[in-house]
Symmetry: D2
Subunit: 362 residues, 4 copies
């Protein structure tokens, strides 16, 4: 099968966590207004072409790099590994996979040292690094704490046509699955995968890809997320709130999706759960369960399923987007072809589903 990803014979690099994303934006000033003025991310460094941003409790140089460029896209999903030697391990691992790799001893971005970037088997630009400049961790700088403060980078989310293939690849790379969405025919629609002890460092969303679905930052409490909505209302950009706020079924986190000026999707996220035990139970959701993506049954807007950001190859060119051929989650749950239920079987023995929500069907 052409899309089989072999498991390398060399050990996978020991990944600590998702660490930063580098995104290309077309108007740096507008993006700065979004990420700094609206969202309050903290500028570690900036120049005419690039802004390095970090969250409140971060001590590495950055969690997000905004780089000015002609086409909005994602240049890197960067993971921190456990030691300098693990960068070698990553390079060897992807070489054995037959992937294109590029090693830079001085890093691809400021504040990061020896790194390797790869075009991974799914077409994503992954980076692995250990060395980084430590900067002031702002944890107790409450004089800088805004009402909607983003305190940690939480996770990435990637769109890929073949979720089981991607899942196997990431499991080989050492990720563990915390939750997934399937149907009774065995189709997998999405999977959540972690290295650190949260629900995910990255997730795979089934769709046309490779594309970046979103990058997520955590807040301390739910009211911080509500404030971000309120502020977007005050700035009269509520049309940039795409979905939420709501409570996820998957992950149990309280969430919000907003769109940056280039339509890169940002999630604001809080209060998922500890997954650090080796036998952490995997939760599988039925794709027809209307509470899987929103515990309150609020409808997922179609754009959330269809729109995503291009990703770049190591030359900086957009990767071609391959169509998903498996069933689409949107098609099987929304509109004429799909259905969702709130209660699977109301106990009358018929096995009938019940609880269609007003508005859940367009």
């Amino acid at each position: 099968m052409s899309n089989f990803v072999p498991t390398p014979t060399v050990p996978a690099p020991d990944i600590v966590r998702c660490a930063y994303m580098e995104i290309v934006v077309t108007d740096l000033a507008r993006s700065r207004a979004f990420y700094v003025d609206l969202l309050g991310l903290h500028v570690t460094e900036e120049d005419e072409t690039t802004i390095y941003l970090r969250s409140f409790e971060e001590f590495i140089h950055h969690n997000l790099v905004l780089r000015k460029g002609p086409i909005a896209a994602v240049a890197a999903f960067a993971y921190r590994v456990k030691s300098p030697a693990e960068v070698d391990a990553a390079e060897a691992y992807y070489k054995e996979l037959g992937c294109r790799t590029e090693r830079r001893k001085d890093g691809f971005t400021k504040g990061i040292g020896d790194s390797v970037r790869v075009e991974d088997p799914l077409g994503f630009p992954y980076e692995f690094f250990y060395e980084t400049e430590h900067v002031e961790r702002l944890t107790q700088r409450y004089d800088l704490y805004s009402a909607g403060e983003l305190v940690r980078l939480d996770h990435f989310n990637q769109v890929t046509p073949d979720v089981p293939r991607g899942r196997k690849y990431l499991e080989d790379l050492g990720f563990r699955v915390s939750e997934d969405i399937k149907d009774s025919d065995g189709v997998t629609y999405a999977a959540w995968m972690h290295r650190k002890q949260t629900v995910h460092d990255t997730a795979l969303t089934g769709g046309n890809g490779p594309r970046m679905h979103h990058v997520a930052f955590a807040t301390h409490e739910k009211h911080n997320i509500i404030q971000i909505c309120d502020k977007m209302g005050a700035l009269r950009i509520s049309d940039r709130i795409e979905r939420g706020p709501g409570r996820h079924g998957v992950s149990n986190a309280f969430y919000l999706y907003i769109l940056d000026p280039d339509n890169h999707r940002i999630e604001i996220y809080t209060q998922d759960y500890y997954t650090g035990d080796p036998d952490n139970p995997t939760v599988t959701w039925d794709v027809h369960d209307n509470q899987r993506r929103d515990w309150w049954g609020n409808a997922v807007v179609p754009s959330w399923y269809t729109e995503a950001s291009l990703v770049l190859d190591l030359d900086g060119n957009p990767q071609p987007v391959i169509e998903r051929t498996d069933a689409s989650e949107m098609a099987v749950t929304v509109g004429a072809d799909g259905f969702s239920y709130t209660r699977k079987d109301d106990g009358d023995g018929s096995g009938a589903v019940e609880g269609f929500k007003l508005g859940a069907q367009l």
Copy 2:
């Protein structure tokens, strides 16, 4: 003009606040599960046909009466007046208005004394009382405080075809308008009116009426409302969440609308603002402003505009519902005939509106 409401020559009764609603439910046990087990309202008294409920910080006998009956409907919108003499004033006032009235020295419900009920000029069953049994105010009974605790009755909301007519009637009755929704043609779609020092004791929503749109209870904080959603998800009744949670434009309150087993609509509401000054500024919203009903621009579901509860006359029969002939807020804002904007004029001199939200147009 036939629907003119004359101002009586006798003084209007001095109303303190909205105090309780009496609703007819068709299955008392199911309604008890909703109001007591789910929402945590406190039972003051109950028997086979009736349950008297109050919120956490209430000291009068009840804020909500559930009475078993054949047709789901509202039997009374009850206001507390400032003294026993004001019940006489209310009776005289409505008699002069030519309305049917009924006076009961022992009250219409347990725990309430001398009261008058009227069929008001808009067709609603209004009650006025002063005497009430004081019960334990649970304010510091934190041993009884649930995660989604309802602490006060906040307001009523009534559907009526002719909002300006209703507004004049309520202003004569001593209510003051805090906010309203209009269009540039002078059509009024809704008005919020208060006696106590909050945004409203009741509101008028334009539509086919007389019907009861909702009754609202307040929580202390926003997370209490989120918990109610989370609990409805856990109980697999998320399809009974009709709209929200969200931030209102009008009133600025954080809100949620849910449906009881008879489709009576309940709002959970928190953090509007002080309106007690005589010159409290009235806020007028443009009906096309997409943030007027939800500050985050999230769509109002059609059912919220179209569905409401019947109200009863003093014989207990449903009042006939009269159609609104003015423009409908749903029609002018949702779907093929309507539009909404997020930014009224983006400054290009064209006066063009901008900022349609994905999903705001069905």
Copy 3:
């Protein structure tokens, strides 16, 4: 009896609410840093000698005036009345009381029109006004909303030697008592009195007076108050946190007391309860109940009982401070001479009190 306050024969002015306080500060820049940079109050206007501040949801010109002067003190406790005519009523009322009054058609401060200031029978400088400039109400300006945002002026608190005398004077003036603290010998230690529908517009604390105990601003939620503490920690001025945060027994509000650069005491306060019904139950606390001032039994620091701000007469000179001769709340509850209990009678029939808290006794 010399300290009897007669009830005037003319009607008391119809007071709406506490509206602003004018305080004299010795270093305007330091006070600005405290009220604007730390607490986030909004500057309506300012010049070299005076700063006019308002809270987030205020629409009148100011809630706090900082005026530079040689001696830290309070120049006015200003109340808004219901109409321009009520300023006349106030002047007549205090004239009949034999108090010194001063009327200024253009107001004593910017943004306020026709006002009367009086030296009241307790020695406090009270002001009454109706006319005020309306300014932008920032209620939905969430782009300006800080993590510890102060949204309303809530109340004043005054130290006076003879609480029953002060209470009678304020009741005659139209205030109603919501709560008080007494002992079994009939000594009154404090009383909370309101015009608007909250627990108080002002309170009387027994002690050497006339002095200003504190002025209180409200936040929306409890986490906003915690943020103020956290920010004071970050600024290394935690020694200016005098007491709290905690939950009051009296009023049930969540509270914090902090000290400005001149030792004027500011309370941050949230979530007391509705008191607008004419028969709102008065709550009386036993002075020995260890939960009366802090529901969690945390000790009141001695400075909170002993320290307060001077108040000025109409010439701008400090009023002499008269000693309280009744029992002192601190003396009867703290230290060698006092006691407090958590449980009044543990049911063993002895009537013994129980539940001394570690640290409640110095």
Copy 4:
């Protein structure tokens, strides 16, 4: 040096996290009222002598075992290891350390399989296990979610006379130090040590030991902790609130300390930070920094320093308590012999400390 702990030549067991504590209580019914009725921990199983409790998001059998016994004490600090083989590793490790060990293939408590208990070099009863019965994780059972819900076991805290010795022992065991408290003479007063990616799984507090200082449970948000205080006030057991709520300097968590009926100390804790990176910066606090234990400078009550629970040897007898000979944190910071500062050097060149808080000195 007699109190040197040698590093074994065999590998330390791979510890995942603190998992449960077994405590001996003298009155099972009173303890049940405290842990179940007040705190809302969930009963997995119970019989006449033992109650097995877990927090809301736990999936292993229990986080706390209450066992009825004659003397209040702690029977085990239990850690989960990464695999069954790591229990062997733990046994070998402690055998080489010369510690008494006891292996039970069926576990020491219900719901736990193959385990080893040891009397560790510091005198504490440590347990290591992997096998456990999975139980329902209640994460989304919001129908069971109380206003003060405890969602995770967070950490242990142990009192030991020689903190550097204990620290070395725990570092050898694989723990990493996140924060500590020292003075300029090199005395270490406390250290926080973690395996999972939070600030600690256990901490060492300098004092007479071995004793158990506290066991801590996490809530989602700060208001959940405030509710626990409010509920203890309502139940008139506020004298069982020992310290807090407050914001820790160390760990940055929002905290509360309460006492169970046997004076076992429980901490409620929320919102520390991620520590999973290999080079997570260690934070060292000066013992004289008045914000180290409470960021708001609120005084630590003496009992918090002096009181703690006995721990048992493997025969169930209390371990003898050895006095600390190093300087005591209480002595150097509180009262006649100690001092604390809020600002270390106010910039006048004198190096003088400033900012004594009222009440920080008894």
